[in-house]
């Protein structure tokens, strides 16, 4: 509802606003649409258009059949799912535990420990020594290299900690009087109250792990262990052909069909899908969980 005191909008103003909103929406959706349509196009459609397609003609899922019938893309998707699931669980456990451990001022070593965490915002360790540490720990060419070094996001920790601190201390005290230890209090009382914020942080971790690229470039040389982003980069930006697939040799799809462009675009779609799937959920909880938590912190 427009407030009574506000002027009626001018037609020019309305038109400008409408145009701006349309441009924003199209700028985001059109590329995604075009990639999706191209990935489902047949060889003729792609040849007719001279490359990318944005007007769908027919429906040809053969590109997806090809990339999911074994070979590098199938494996990379599996690896990325594995890294995302294990990494998110690992990160959440570490972050939630530490957020709770640091949530009560006045406990032993509270200030120095909190300082240890917060100081990471100011200190930049540098790429070379970080690389040397990870390599020295024998993590090279292991998927743990994509998880452990980035497992704790202090920002996420601060958000969860702020939320924990907002839980009335009477609840925790009464549980303690009833004889509950800290682990039980966390599990039985604090966690059930913090589902939303933990879900959001978990999704942020999951998206981060799904998107991991640079650490894969640094630490994973063995292309049998590449996550999906690294594969996408090598196919599209470094121009390697998707058919040449790691150690398992050629895919069944080396035959003329489906066209290379459709396969490439299918890989793009596969990389986009998880982000789009988790997205409505993040959106629903975002303002509730994170903004409020961050502002309070």
């Amino acid at each position: 509802m427009r407030p009574v005191w506000e002027e009626k909008p001018t037609p020019v103003g309305q038109a400008a606003k409408g145009t701006a909103l349309t441009v924003i929406v199209l700028a985001v959706l059109f590329p995604i649409w075009s990639v999706l349509v191209t990935s489902l196009s047949s060889r003729e459609t792609i040849n007719d258009s001279g490359g990318m397609v944005f007007i769908p003609k027919g429906f040809d899922p053969s590109a997806y059949v090809t990339i999911f019938s074994g070979g590098q893309v199938t494996r990379a998707v599996g690896i990325s799912i594995l890294v995302s699931v294990v990494g998110t669980a690992f990160s959440l456990v570490l972050t939630v535990l530490a957020a709770y451990g640091l949530s009560r001022p006045g406990t032993v070593a509270h200030r120095p420990l909190l300082f240890l965490f917060l100081l990471t915002f100011l200190i930049y360790p540098g790429l070379v020594p970080s690389y040397l540490v990870v390599t020295e720990l024998g993590l090279k060419d292991r998927l743990w290299a994509l998880i452990v070094p980035t497992a704790v996001s202090v920002f996420n920790l601060v958000v969860i900690r702020a939320f924990f601190q907002g839980i009335p201390s009477e609840l925790i005290d009464s549980a303690r009087i009833d004889g509950a230890g800290e682990f039980r209090i966390l599990w039985r009382i604090v966690l059930p109250l913090s589902k939303a914020v933990i879900a959001v942080v978990g999704l942020f971790y999951a998206v981060g792990y799904w998107n991991v690229f640079f650490n894969a470039l640094l630490y994973i040389n063995d292309n049998d262990k590449w996550p999906i982003q690294r594969v996408l980069q090598s196919f599209i930006l470094a121009g390697q052909s998707p058919q040449v697939s790691g150690s398992t040799g050629n895919l069944p799809g080396v035959t003329p069909y489906p066209p290379t462009l459709a396969i490439k675009m299918a890989v793009v779609v596969v990389t986009v899908v998880p982000a789009v799937l988790v997205y409505p959920f993040v959106q629903r909880h975002f303002t509730k969980g994170v903004i409020i938590g961050a502002v309070k912190g």
């Binding site: 985001v28 995604i32 690229f213 789009v276």
Partner: protein, 318 residues
């Protein structure tokens, strides 16, 4: 706070340990990760003063002990290296360019979205605009290549019209525009969140009173909306200035080969190529120290400035 501190000091340490040890156990794993993957590398930076090579020993600590100390040799070489100054200049130019052409966009977009009365339309546009934030840089660059690249949609349409497509993805001269456009596409929508939150805290009565006093919509924006956003704008500006030496990593690594080192080498990619790929460990660490130190000074200075301006800044005055 004061009460709890006094109460704390009365309890002997041993009793407090008996009470608090579970909390310490809970904090330990995350603290360990930070110690190993954040603080250990921070200390490891001392190889910048060494002629370090992993081949000087069977393990990194052994190699470290066997490496010769060379003082500031790597720093001297670094500061004499024109490629390093190219990278610094590129980084700062990109930061400055993005402060002008990227930074104000989320503010404008937030004000625009805030003025949309239909909540349905508004939340639809918001959802769409936030989406690319969740894409990796690989994806973002891929979308740009497929739309604007030499084999992309735009070039193919132009060719069909008999026009000569321009190589926007490979042109070093327009690279700064390209990376900014990619940044805008990915994060401008997401950047509106914090401004929208700030806008929602502005008291609507202020607008009403101003309108009653005869202030038009532009004057209301100037005298109410923008002052209401001032703390957030300043805070983000400080954060950006403090981070002036980081323009992002993956975005540049992904495009450096297509555009060339001259335009696309930033400080982070310089460290990657000079430190890790060519295995000049000490030299790369020196460049990393430079980045870390200058970044820290920038952040502290920017924050100090904010305090001087009467704003809260990133952290409170101790």
């Amino acid at each position: 706070m004061r009460v709890s501190r006094r109460a704390r000091s009365r309890v002997p340490l041993r009793a407090r340990l008996r009470r608090d040890w579970p909390l310490l156990v809970m904090t330990a794993p995350a603290a360990l990760v930070l110690l190993v993957f954040h603080y250990l590398p921070t200390i490891g930076n001392i190889i910048a003063f060494q002629d370090y090579s992993p081949f000087f020993g069977d393990s990194a600590p052994e190699a470290f002990l066997n490496s010769e100390w060379i003082g500031f040799g790597h720093f001297e070489a670094l500061f004499k290296d024109p490629a390093f100054w190219d990278a610094v200049r590129n980084t700062l130019t990109i930061t400055a360019f993005q402060l002008v052409f990227f930074f104000p966009l989320p503010i404008a977009m937030a004000i625009l979205l805030n003025s949309v009365l239909s909540t349905k339309l508004r939340s639809f546009v918001q959802s769409v605009a936030y989406l690319p934030h969740f894409f990796s840089w690989v994806l973002v660059v891929t979308f740009f290549v497929q739309m604007l690249g030499g084999a992309g949609l735009l070039a193919q349409e132009m060719r069909q019209q008999g026009l000569q497509p321009w190589g926007i993805m490979t042109n070093p001269e327009t690279f700064i525009v390209l990376v900014t456009a990619e940044g805008v596409w990915k994060d401008a929508g997401w950047g509106t969140i914090v401004f929208l939150a700030a806008l929602s805290t502005i008291d609507p009565h202020l607008y009403e009173a101003a309108a009653a006093d005869g202030a038009g919509r532009w004057r209301r924006m100037w005298h109410i909306t923008l002052p209401g956003l001032r703390p957030v704008i300043l805070l983000l500006l400080i954060l950006r200035l403090g981070d002036a030496l980081s323009v992002g990593f993956e975005q540049y690594i992904l495009q450096r080969d297509a555009v060339g080192r001259q335009a696309a080498e930033v400080l982070d990619t310089f460290v990657y190529y000079q430190g890790i790929l060519t295995q000049q460990w000490g030299f790369g660490a020196a460049a990393g120290i430079f980045k870390g130190m200058v970044g820290l000074i920038l952040l502290l200075t920017a924050n100090h400035l904010a305090h001087r301006l009467g704003e809260q800044g990133v952290y409170a005055k101790a």
